[in-house]
């Protein structure tokens, strides 16, 4: 099975210059870890699926959103679209400081439709689950359905968790060093002409990297079977400027939600 790399150039603030294939958000090393795991699972590398945001000039040329760039034409059954890193669905609406800019591609639009099944809000500062999945959170983590995260620095830690109804509010301090990571492994998506989708992200790039490292090791089963999984990360102690990721094996990754994803056929019913 060829794994295609969803390649979203990273941009904190929109720049005048266009970002190219050689610019990458900090999830490149995370993709390297997951790619290694996929090779172990007999997948092979398909290639890049660039999702470069347009430049300011290009955006100014259009009164509304620019026309979508087709970039999913080569996908088909047996392909796997690999997205490593948090997609930026709602950062503009949430007025987040750190944003993943939109690429205005057809694949981005289709993936956004899929992610809306799982996330009511998906931004750097705030993640809110859709009701069917919030209801499946394991005890005592029922209040992880509406979570806000710290925005400054290179990590995103829990600030506050609550239920969708706004009850069971729990405040956190950044010193608690507790956060969440997400995996969505979805097979045979009709809108992607039967291709599969694998999405793995922490809310910050560094947590995405830690998740990827563990997906390559003790969590590799999440890459084998369809699932929607949320993991709570704790004990996240990191040495200064490490030259390898050995320390991540000491972090605690606890599965707080593992749901059977609603496959597209079920959605169609």
């Amino acid at each position: 099975m060829p794994g295609h790399h969803w390649f979203a150039p990273y941009n904190r603030r929109r720049k005048k210059r266009k970002l190219g294939l050689n610019h990458v958000r900090p999830d490149g090393p995370a993709f390297a870890e997951i790619q290694a795991a996929l090779y172990e699972l007999d997948s092979h590398y398909g290639g890049l699926l660039p999702n470069s945001p347009p430049s300011e000039d290009e955006l100014r040329r259009h009164s509304g959103p620019p026309p979508l760039l087709p970039n999913d034409g080569s996908l088909g059954r047996g392909d796997l679209v690999v997205m490593v890193g948090k997609p930026g669905l709602d950062e503009e609406r949430q007025n987040d400081t750190i944003r993943i800019e939109r690429g205005f591609t057809t694949l981005e639009n289709k993936v956004e439709d899929i992610l809306r099944e799982y996330f009511e809000v998906l931004a750097r500062s705030h993640i809110r689950l859709q009701r069917p999945y919030a209801n499946q959170l394991r005890k005592p983590y029922g209040n992880r359905s509406d979570t806000t995260f710290t925005e400054y620095g290179q990590y995103a830690w829990y600030k506050e968790c609550k239920t969708l109804e706004g009850t069971d509010v729990q405040k956190f301090d950044a010193k608690d060093r507790r956060t969440a990571a997400y995996v969505l492994n979805l097979p045979e998506i009709p809108t992607l002409r039967g291709a599969d989708l694998l999405l793995a992200f922490g809310v910050s790039g560094n947590h995405t990297l830690a998740l990827a490292c563990r997906l390559r090791a003790d969590l590799i089963h999440l890459l084998r079977e369809p699932n929607f999984t949320i993991l709570e990360i704790s004990n996240a102690v990191q040495p200064e400027r490490p030259t390898n990721l050995r320390f991540v094996s000491d972090w605690t990754f606890e599965i707080i939600l593992q749901a059977r994803p609603r496959v597209p056929a079920e959605r169609a019913v």
Binding site: H5, G20, V24, F31, A32, Y45, L49, Q154, N206, R241
Partner: protein, 292 residues
Amino acid sequence: MTAPRWFHWLALVEHHRPDRRHEFPGLRDPAAFFEVMAALVERGYRAGRVIYTYPRTTRELRELQRLVRLGQLRLAPVDLDFLGPGHLLVVPTRIPLSDWVFENKKMLRSPLNELDAKIMAIGWLYFEYLARSASQLTARVASLLAPEYANRAKIQFMQNKGALCVKCWRLDGGGYQEFSAEDARTLGWVLYLKDVPSLRGADLLVFWGMGGVETLALAHHLRTDLGHLLDAPGFTMIEFSRAARPDCPSDVGFASAWQPEIILRADPLPLDALLSEEAAVARVLDGPPRGA
């Protein structure tokens, strides 16, 4: 028999915030690495680990330069215990031998640690200087160029819109040749060494073009029609013509239209005359200034 493993040398460079300290690095030339990763898997390799390095800030580089001048340079250690014979260290980016002294706008900031120094010591065997804007081979390597390509010993590259060749010379200053943008010529390099003693007996693969897109295009060719360069050690220079950079490519297929021509394929130089690690770094920080 277990498959050999490769290790990815990871260098972070962020042009827009060069003086920011990174708690955790990103990845330089990741797409190029993934292309070559695929080629290595086809050759029976399996993934090892990523080695993280951290670019020095300007202040740190100045301080290192001061220590070099005082003869007090101490290189930061890197844990290489995992590396050994049968392993392959992959460096998918240019060795920034001369970026500091050339002060190019698109400077790569080296980590200048023990591992970096070992690779730079090897780089100095092949290059008198190597920066984003220009390269010059050592006399020993330049003498290996075929006569029709002898003027590729010294090359100057565009820095703004891609990394096309602008002009080139022989080492003696003769053979001057200019290239127009319509020529759309650029260069790629591949250095593949076996059993490197300073790397605990591991192999070393370094490949690069002068810009990120050029490196990616080279990697794509290494995965396809130039894969044989990964089968035997050597130092290779590839000249690409029709090296057009598309505005918004939807994949790496554009690189297939680049026409590669191998203009130098040489056996690796012996490693018995390597600079010491400290001397290699001293030359990076305190080498002859631009234009010397």
